[in-house]
């Protein structure tokens, strides 16, 4: 079979301004629908898992957090003895009950760094403690995935720059907002689609020696054909805020059938050194409401999509001097979507006694986040070789996270 990349690169089919004739584009795009999709939402800044999903059954929690622990009567019932859900995450309860939302607790990295930036790099590279890894874990997952027809739209990040997780692999598209993806006509050129085509052709020629720019223009052309001039109204009500904005755009692309297999987005604002209860009440509401809207917006495609929301590390079990928490170790991850064994907290609970805490201060890590990511990559992308996904990782994909 001729790969799409070959078609893209073969001179014979490259008409002025068009990498792919319309019929081929349509045919390929149709073939690409119905494939499973993995979305990674990076909660940058270190979410306190003990605040989002408190282990209220542990008396130590309230002792160590006299001002910030939520009273257990305020928590939402998860049906798991000793654990509750933060009330701001109420929008997720229906998914928990229907079984499409799972929580992994005491999850994280074997590396002990408490630097946000190192820990974020390690997570994205998939190699805790090793910064020299040339490619990100999602780039490797994409490469390993048995994708017959590759396209620059296989992977999309709603992010001002290509996230490290996608660097070093097959071409991926990154944009801060879909609104970036348009070119106006050249001076003195015609308006409308013809003018945009002319501008695109002119810059394709100027960037002909730049492989990644070439794919950008190809992607632009395909997006223009698929998306039309105006964004359609989403099929669910999203809240305000950047998480919702990013997920809405990913949903828009998924529903347009562009063949997306991997989506990335960021959610910032979890570094709660101060006034944690108020900050998280607000941020968790945004997160929960956005995830719920995303899943509803996807409609009939919802079960093809799995979203993982994870963070670089957790926070100290003890509150600090400003009703906040400092950098810690273990945290939580949310896994939402089709095929997920939800309604369940996965992982082993390490306990909160002093001798059970990591370095006497943080929630310990009992599940390596890589085993969660590996399970999702296998289920959604068919990338099953854990050693290739995570070089040096001796664990395996978390069993029982997905129904096979």
């Amino acid at each position: 079979m001729i790969s799409r990349r070959m078609i893209l690169r073969s001179g014979a089919l490259v008409a002025a301004g068009s990498f792919l004739p319309g019929f081929a584009r349509r045919a390929l795009a149709q073939e690409r629908e119905g494939k499973k999709i993995l979305v990674f939402l990076f909660l940058r800044g270190a979410l306190d898992g003990l605040h989002a999903v408190p282990a209220y059954g542990e008396a130590r929690l309230a002792q160590l957090r006299p001002q910030i622990a939520l009273p257990s009567k305020d928590l939402l019932e998860l049906g798991v003895p000793g654990f509750g859900l933060h009330p701001s995450l109420g929008a997720l309860l229906p998914f928990w009950k229907e079984g499409s939302l799972a929580i992994v607790h005491a999850v994280g990295s074997p590396d002990g760094t408490r630097s946000h930036f190192d820990a974020q790099d390690f997570l994205e590279l998939g190699t805790p403690g090793v910064k020299s890894t040339p490619d990100g874990w999602l780039a490797r997952a994409l490469r390993e995935a048995p994708i017959a027809e590759r396209s620059p739209l296989d992977a999309v990040a709603v992010s001002p720059r290509l996230p490290r997780a996608l660097q070093g692999g097959p071409e991926a598209l990154a944009f801060a907002s879909l609104d970036q993806l348009r070119l106006r006509p050249l001076a003195g050129g015609p308006g409308g689609p013809q003018g945009r085509l002319q501008a695109r052709a002119a810059f394709e020629a100027l960037y002909r020696d730049d492989a990644s720019a070439k794919e950008t223009f190809a992607a632009l052309e395909m997006l223009e054909a698929k998306l039309g001039p105006e964004a359609p109204k989403p099929d669910a009500e999203y809240p305000q805020g950047p998480i919702a904005q990013s997920l809405r755009q990913l949903a828009q692309l998924i529903k347009a059938g562009i063949g997306l297999r991997v989506g990335c987005a960021d959610a910032a604002g979890w570094d709660t050194h101060l006034a944690q209860p108020a900050q998280l009440a607000n941020n968790l509401r945004q997160l929960g409401d956005s995830l719920a809207a995303f899943r509803r917006d996807l409609g009939k495609r919802a079960d093809e999509v799995v979203l993982i929301a994870a963070t670089e590390f957790g926070r100290t079990v003890r509150q600090n001097g400003a009703n906040g928490t400092d950098h810690g170790h273990g945290s939580i991850a949310f896994v939402l979507g089709g095929g997920v064994r939800g309604g369940k907290i996965h992982g082993r609970w390490p306990g909160l006694r002093d001798d059970q805490l990591y370095e006497g201060r943080d929630l310990a890590v009992t599940t390596d986040l890589r085993s969660v990511l590996a399970a999702a990559a296998a289920a959604q992308l068919g990338a099953t070789d854990v050693e290739k996904l995570f070089p040096g990782f001796e664990g395996r994909a978390l069993p029982s996270l997905f129904a096979l």
Binding site: R114, S115, F117, A174, R184, A187, A199, A205, G269
Partner: protein, 502 residues
């Protein structure tokens, strides 16, 4: 003495012919024998031509050349220009104030800005929008270009996010009192100015850290991002000890008239051990000062700052020998930033062919650079600051304390590339509200001459045959009106790969 002589050699260059260039190499090489003998020798030839040197110097010392800057450097010499820029207080900048005085963030002090925020007369995002416009105007129009380049550099080094709590209202003073006056001064003084600034104390939560209720946030970023670097040799224990030293460094009347204060009752008076140095019990405010001195004098800090400056001014992955020499300069001068910059501008690595156009322009550099290159008239900078945001650098809105990155990786994405190209078209087509460019001097009798003039004015360098041919092709397709031809040439060039670099 030797250094002065070398510098003088560069001074000659601007004024003299290309022949002088040959004489420049040996003394520069003597400054860095290993660089000259090894990597520099083979890969960096041929040496930069005089016009390339002018272009290169302006691309690093300023936000991009204006046409008259090239003439100035050719007339007075590169070294004279650089030396002037290293002493911003010697440069008159009379017109700048007229361009920014209408903004509240320029006119009002912190306490009135904070009160406006508290009384909800202004929103955080309005402060941030004003600050972004002022920054853009300064980048485009201040005569003290190197000072603005360094103010931007230090802002990202000592980043404070404008959207968090009340920091937005504190940022004007943070920039004008803490950062800009120290931008070319002593690193230790700059560090202390940030440590005592209400903006930083609030952003990284130190104002709420107290004995028995530590907050590690500032201590950690102080070590990791402001001084030693993440691999600089500190432990979690050091972070806690540093945090203890800074207990009591807080902010008085944060919601009315915010200013630094040391509160003894919040301070931890016990003994501390920071990076192996004993800090005796009983010390108060001076514990924090002591920590800052330890950090500013630490070899890891010298290296970390040297590496960042070399990355800003030379290349994303600067030569190790240069970083080492800069670190030595830091140590020899106790952190004199001006001396480090001078060492960069005197280095063979700076002047090597490998450094030419080695940096991808940040969105701010791209937009300010286009305004400068075209001598654009800016009646209202709002559209320009929005363009900077759309291309990927919403100013004062970097949430993590790392600020914005300084490598190609930080700026390149599909969306950013298209937004860059679209900005060029928007500016050239006259579609940016509040911004006027007069392209009539570029109009010519035929597409080839239009293209040559436009490329020279924009500093596009030597266009390759292929690029030139495809640009000419586009110009020939444009209607034959001279102003449309010029606009089309400028729009295409601003978006071309050559103009994304400096």
């Amino acid at each position: 003495m030797r250094r002065a002589a070398i510098y003088f050699a560069i001074a000659l260059l601007g004024a003299c012919s290309a022949a002088v260039r040959k004489d420049l190499t040996p003394p520069l090489a003597a400054e860095a024998p290993e660089a000259a003998a090894g990597e520099a020798g083979l890969l960096d030839s041929p040496p930069l031509s005089p016009s390339e040197m002018v272009e290169h110097a302006l691309s690093r010392v300023t936000f991009g050349p204006r046409p008259r800057d090239r003439a100035l450097l050719e007339r007075e010499g590169i070294a004279r220009f650089i030396e002037d820029q290293l002493h911003p207080e010697s440069i008159a900048d009379p017109a700048l104030y007229d361009r920014i005085y209408q903004f509240d963030v320029v006119q009002e002090d912190s306490s009135s800005l904070v009160r406006e925020l508290e009384e909800a007369r202004m929103k955080k995002k309005d402060f941030v929008a004003q600050l972004a416009q002022v920054k853009l105007v300064r980048a485009a129009f201040s005569e003290r270009q190197l000072q603005e380049v360094m103010a931007d550099f230090w802002f990202n080094h000592f980043n404070v996010f404008g959207g968090k709590q009340m920091e937005a209202a504190l940022l004007p003073e943070y920039e004008t009192r803490s950062l800009r006056p120290n931008a070319l001064g002593n690193f230790g003084e700059l560090l202390e100015a940030t440590a005592r600034s209400p903006a930083m104390l609030i952003y990284l939560d130190n104002w709420r850290s107290r004995r028995g209720g530590l907050n590690e946030n500032y201590a950690r970023e102080l070590l990791e991002l402001h001084t030693l670097g993440v691999a600089g040799g500190y432990t979690q224990r050091d972070i806690i000890e540093v945090a203890r030293c800074f207990t009591g460094w807080t902010v008085e009347e944060p919601q009315k008239d915010p200013r630094f204060v040391f509160r003894p009752r919040m301070h931890d008076y016990g003994p501390k051990l920071v990076l192996g140095q004993v800090i005796s019990p009983g010390g108060g405010e001076e514990d924090g000062e002591r920590v800052l001195r330890i950090l500013a004098g630490h070899p890891s800090t010298a290296r970390f700052i040297a590496g960042k400056l070399a990355r800003r001014f030379v290349s994303d992955d600067p030569p190790e020998a240069l970083v080492e020499r800069l670190a030595a300069t830091y140590q020899r001068t106790q952190g004199d930033i001006r001396s480090m910059l001078r060492a960069i501008f005197e280095s063979p690595e700076f002047w090597s062919r490998r450094a030419l156009r080695a940096k991808v322009r940040s969105p701010l550099e791209l937009v300010a650079g286009a305004v400068r290159a075209l001598d654009a008239k800016v009646g209202d900078p709002l559209a320009l600051s929005r363009a900077v945001a759309r291309i990927g650098e919403p100013l004062y809105a970097a949430q993590p304390p790392t600020g914005y990155g300084d490598t190609a990786q930080a700026w390149l994405s599909s969306g950013a590339l298209l937004a860059r190209i679209d900005f060029g078209l928007q500016l050239a087509n006259g579609q940016l509200q509040g911004v006027k460019v007069d392209l009539s001097p570029l109009a010519g009798s035929d597409p080839a001459s239009v293209l040559t003039k436009a490329a020279a004015q924009l500093g596009a360098g030597e266009l390759s045959e292929k690029t030139r041919a495809s640009l000419l092709d586009q110009l020939q397709k444009a209607p034959a009106k001279p102003e449309l031809q010029a606009a089309r040439a400028v729009g295409l060039l601003l978006g071309a790969p050559e103009l994304q670099r400096r």
